[in-house]
Symmetry: C2
Subunit: 457 residues, 2 copies
């Protein structure tokens, strides 16, 4: 990259809009543990028009670009090389409009998730996408990765909360599809092209978010289940028994519950002797009503012998204690080095998948420890393998991903492909699908300037 | 088209797989009122492999293709010329698999919607997409048009019920994205490209449908509302007050209710003297519970003076009588010639949109009659204009569509573009969006063989 380009970029975004030298290398290229940013410059446009001018210039000069949102992505999707410049959305954080009557919020994509959630609640409304990194992850990043999180069962992925979207293409063209309505069958749905594309097809600059009614109450239970069949029947019972109210159905395998409740940080609300533990949460009109509905459900489940034990929480602090068990990543980190995965598969295939995986691990690494938990209702399992050397990464990946073949699931439920999962993309997508993806990439980014080397080779 | 091609097609699909001559011209090119099919042949492949071979052959010979599903589309999307051949999915009607545990159904795309609904209910499950043409519309057609219908508010459009999809491209390539899971963040989401593309990017051959828990009960009310602001507040109250249960919020303007209840077919459950009438329906665990929740809601709404009258139905037959008012298309047809529209716009803009439209119509056609009703909760209005000559179609279209400019809504909420709405596509989509759509079309169908002249010029 020429000094000339830096000067031209500065002419567009002003001095405040560009960082170089140490200001760049002091930043990281991703979440905790990522290396320093090695890009030539970080460009921070103030608005879509500036960004468009920047992109046009880069296009003319064949300059590659990597977008940085909150850098909480978990697949090394935001990594740079010294050939790249970074576009950071950090100065594009406006809440453009909150339309309470239509339940939409229009935002620039640099705003973070928590701000959106809070602004919605201020209006008595609700933005349902939620994940641990809420304070840092940007709306643009959650769109680019189609983030999932804690309430997918009820509200869907980020994709399901986006009504409209504005993006800038590689050549600077602004694609404004800022629809504010649920229903818009007028030609190809362009927003869905950019959602989940991890910054390889365009830069998301604004979005119209769909807000929901704020749940006025809820109820939470922890239950113990002795076999997998009961687990899956319990999910069906909860889906129908709680009407539309079921918002979480989080399962911890014995291995996970045992580990976490074995630390000093927690007390086991139910003894750690069952095969599975499930957090069931429902959202609705009032705490009393939801409590009642959940109690009825647990009664039915006991009667049908689907559960062997249950605790219905009676206060926020009891609720938080139960979630703290599920959310205790620290307990996992203590087992480092760990091999962590985020896969999806049909619920009917889960039991045998986990059994086969355990057998495969045992055959090669007799000391291994396999820890499983996840959003069962979404078909999403987090699989953690420890007591296997870090250098055997590839062997573990092959077992975890290989076992998914032919099940109709996926090697990445939530986190995307980025750099990390690129070698395994063909485990989830056929050669014809990959060829079509490459055609689309070629059409929309003919010079290959957007997030080069990510997702597709 | 050469006789040679017919012979080659017959070699692929067999005698049963192809219709020519009168067998073609006796069929129609669309819903009631459409002209006779003018294609050279109707090819009826038995499976995806046959269809792929047909497409490959047509690609080599530059043969244009129009897909026929149930022919219930409402925008002349399935119209043929004598240059085309038709691909009909009528022999591809297998239910490939019902997986009750994962709540998925895998079907060939020629199966009709009602069959899918019934097969799901047989398993105690539920396919929520529903529309009047359920007995004839095919799953492939509902996918190609991203059909909406009666329960979008709660379950979304067809798009939201598709987990996986198989399609055949113009050159015969089979794209199999038959995911069975909710979460699959592995590269570009190809199913969303084909959903709503009206057969211009590929032919949908199979799909994995997402089934839901079957609602075990419900409740229905008809209420009267005196002003638009109360209407919109009532919607918010219903959304939060009924938890996830609200499944319909259908509004009839006075003009509609007055017309329909004025016929001999109906008795007005509430006198026809209010500004708006709303059907509120909720689905949940049991009739009693839902009845109770809805009763509470109506109580709150009365107290807040949002409604002036209400009837809570006490039986299926009372419920059916109320829906029969909403569904009485016959009453509209009696006013022929009519100009009918299906638009979407933010709820906050609806009142002034309708007022301006009325003023515009009055200025030009003093005798006009404007009748409005729709899925208010989805931002979707059906607008019917009568007592304006059929020859003034263009003038009416310009008023109806012109009024939408700048509102973030759309000229086609549910029905798509086809041939009929193509002249107005630019009212809802910018030149940059249309250019990008054309690029995608060009990439995926470089010879322009798929549904030529539909959606895009
Ligand atoms: C503690 C923690 C918990 C998490 N929990 C979950 C979870 O439950 N579910 C889940 O799905 N994920 C989870 N994640 C992953 C992460 O939070 C999400 O992927 C998040 O959506 C990324 O947002 P970001 O702004 O940090 O994006 P970044 O990390 O900055 O970028 C992610 C990718 O998107 C691209 N990108 C960013 N912004 C844009 C834009 N405006 N336009 C185009 N491309 C862009 C980047 O180039 C990169 O490829 C978690 C992460 C952490 C650290
Ligand atoms: C009485 C009535 C009520 C209706 N109510 C509603 C409603 O409430 N909501 C709503 O959204 N619509 C409604 N519609 C419209 C219509 O039912 C839907 O558009 C339906 O989804 C079309 O399905 P079909 O099989 O009849 O498709 P067709 O009419 O055969 O085809 C429609 C379009 O899709 C293409 N196509 C069909 N099958 C395929 C395939 N397998 N692959 C690729 N392209 C294909 C065709 O080429 C055409 O362009 C209604 C129609 C009627 C007649």
């Amino acid at each position: 990259m020429s000094m000339n380009l830096i000067a031209e970029l500065t002419a567009i975004v002003g001095d405040k809009g560009i960082l170089t030298g140490e200001d760049v290398s002091q930043r990281q290229d991703g979440w905790i543990g990522a290396p320093a940013c090695s890009a030539q410059a970080i460009v921070r446009p103030a608005d879509t028009a500036e960004l468009s001018a920047v992109m046009k210039l880069c296009y003319e000069q064949d300059q590659t670009i990597v977008v940085h949102g909150g850098l909480t992505g978990l697949v090394n999707g935001a990594r740079t090389t010294s050939n790249d410049i970074v576009i950071s959305l950090e100065r594009m954080r406006n809440i453009v409009e909150i339309d309470a009557q239509n339940r939409t919020m229009t935002v620039q994509s640099g705003v973070n998730l928590q701000t959106v959630q809070e602004k919605a609640e201020d209006e008595g409304l609700y933005y349902p996408v939620d994940l641990g990194a809420r304070g840092t992850a940007t709306i643009g990043g959650t769109i680019a990765t189609n983030a999932g999180g804690n309430r997918v069962l009820r509200y869907g992925m980020t994709r399901d909360s986006i009504l409209g979207l504005e993006a800038v293409l590689a050549d600077g063209t602004i694609i404004s599809s800022m629809s504010k309505v649920l229903k818009n069958n007028t030609g190809y749905n362009l927003p869905h092209l950019f959602i989940g594309a991890e910054g390889t097809l365009g830069i998301v600059t604004q979005a119209v978010l769909r807000l929901r009614a704020k749940p006025l109450g809820g109820a939470t239970a922890l239950v113990a289940v002795e076999d997998f069949e009961s687990l899956s029947k319990l999910l069906n019972l909860a889906e129908s028994g709680l009407g539309g109210g079921l918002s979480s159905f989080e399962v911890m395998w014995h291995s996970f519950y045992d580990l976490v409740t074995g630390t000093e940080r927690h007390r086991a609300p139910i003894p750690a002797q069952s095969a599975y533990y499930v957090i069931i949460e429902t959202q609705g009109n009032s705490n009393e009503q939801e409590q009642e509905r959940l109690e009825m459900l647990l009664g039915d489940a006991l009667e049908q012998e689907l559960i062997s034990d249950a605790v219905l929480t009676q206060s926020d602090s009891e609720r938080e204690k139960i979630w703290a068990i599920r959310d205790d990543v620290e307990a996992l980190f203590e087992l480092a080095p760990i091999h962590g995965f985020d896969v999806s598969l049909p619920i009917s295939a889960m039991e045998s998948y986990v059994e086969k995986l355990q057998a495969g691990l045992d055959a090669r690494w007799p000391d291994n420890r396999l820890i499983v938990f996840g959003h069962l209702g979404d078909g999403n399992l987090h699989v953690i393998v420890t007591q296997v050397p870090a250098s055997d990464k590839k062997g573990v990946e092959e077992l975890v991903y290989g076992g998914l073949n032919g099940l109709g699931g996926s090697i990445s439920a939530e986190h995307g492909i980025g750099l990390d999962k690129k070698p395994y993309l063909q485990n989830s997508r056929s050669p014809a699908e990959i060829a079509l993806m490459k055609q689309i990439k070629q059409t929309m980014d003919p010079k290959g300037l957007l997030n080069p080397g990510k997702v597709l080779s």
